[in-house]
Amino acid sequence: MNFDENTPIYLQISNLIKIGIVQGKYNPGDKMPSVRELSTELKVNPNTIQRAYSEIDKEGILYTKRGMGTFVVEDLKIIEGLKVNMAKTTVEKFLDEMDSLGISTEEIVEIIKELRRD
């Protein structure tokens, strides 16, 4: 796994995990890999993984059971909300780039329709 080292690695890892949840790689109620497992897999310091987990924990998407591990919440509404939020963030980035190219909303819609046709 290659990280963009210019931004905090824990944020990139929490993002990676959230993508995994939205994609259904980790399902509601699933036990997440342990800090140690993820640290070995990603070759990243375990404290950084712990920080990523705590961050998503704070957002209410993961929760930790003492001595049991970290789990994905069962509440589907929360996961649906996460999906919408992540989509919005991606679209916002896209719109910023379109703005910098001076492309209007109407034009963007046209381009999307055209590309989605095939």
Partner: protein
């Protein structure tokens, strides 16, 4: 969180110059810390005074709340930046030596490390007959096989090929146990980015910046190597 290492106003004149200039440093328990700086900035000297192999002219150093000495040596595992094993020793001899010398040395952990480093078939070979990369891996394995509180690693990835380097970094992460502390010196900053919690920048025997790596990335908007450039070149 408690400080596992505290350096207070340490002054050391070494090799004809001021190596440590009344340096102050606190290291929190449970982190992998990078001690970063150009050649001659005082990194090696600082590790040596923490390891208690040399003594500062003034100032005090504490490890786990105790003044450095025989007691703290038992909980500090130190990898010097030069070869420290006797040339005639076979790997087996060296392992036996460490086993006898350090109570916290685990033969089992050593064998796991050697297996991972692909050195487990070379135990009858003499230390002097190992390649440089193999020797570095072997030396590091001896240091990591101890169950110490603090590991001091002086340039563990200096002068080895990239495969060996990855091997070494992985073994450091894999043996890192919660609550233990590792301090690594290097001038190869980018290679260590992913494994460091904290970065300490040293210049002319003084600490000029210290912080959590992810917080520094956020604050400076660049990687630790970028912070390093800004700190030492002012760009």
């Amino acid at each position: 969180m408690a400080n596992i290492v505290e350096v207070k106003k340490a002054y050391k004149f070494y090799g004809g110059t001021t190596a440590l200039d009344f340096i102050d440093l606190d290291i929190k328990k449970g982190n992998i810390v990078g001690l970063l700086g150009p050649n001659g900035s005082g990194k090696t000297t600082l590790l040596k005074v923490i390891a208690n192999v040399i003594h500062p002219e003034s100032g005090e150093i504490f490890v786990d709340g105790k003044k450095v000495g025989i007691e703290t040596r038992k909980i500090v595992s130190y990898l010097p930046d030069n070869d420290f094993l006797l040339k005639w020793m076979t790997l087996n001899n060296a392992i036996k030596f460490y086993e006898d010398f350090f109570e916290d040395f685990s033969k089992e952990k050593m064998m796991d490390l050697l297996n991972f480093m692909e050195l487990d078939g070379k135990l009858a070979i003499k230390v002097k007959d190992l390649s440089k990369g193999m020797r570095e891996k072997f030396n590091l394995s001896l240091i990591l096989a101890r169950d110490a509180e603090v590991y001091l690693l002086d340039e563990p990835i200096g002068g080895v090929d990239i495969i060996t380097r990855d091997n070494i970094l992985e073994s450091i992460i894999n043996t890192f146990v919660e609550g233990k502390t590792i301090i690594i010196t290097t001038h190869l900053v980018s290679e260590l980015e992913k494994i460091l919690d904290e970065a300490v920048f040293i210049k002319d025997g003084k600490i000029i910046l210290q912080g959590n790596c992810d917080d520094l990335r956020m604050e400076y908007g660049t990687n630790i190597e970028g912070v390093y450039r800004q700190v030492y070149r002012g760009v």
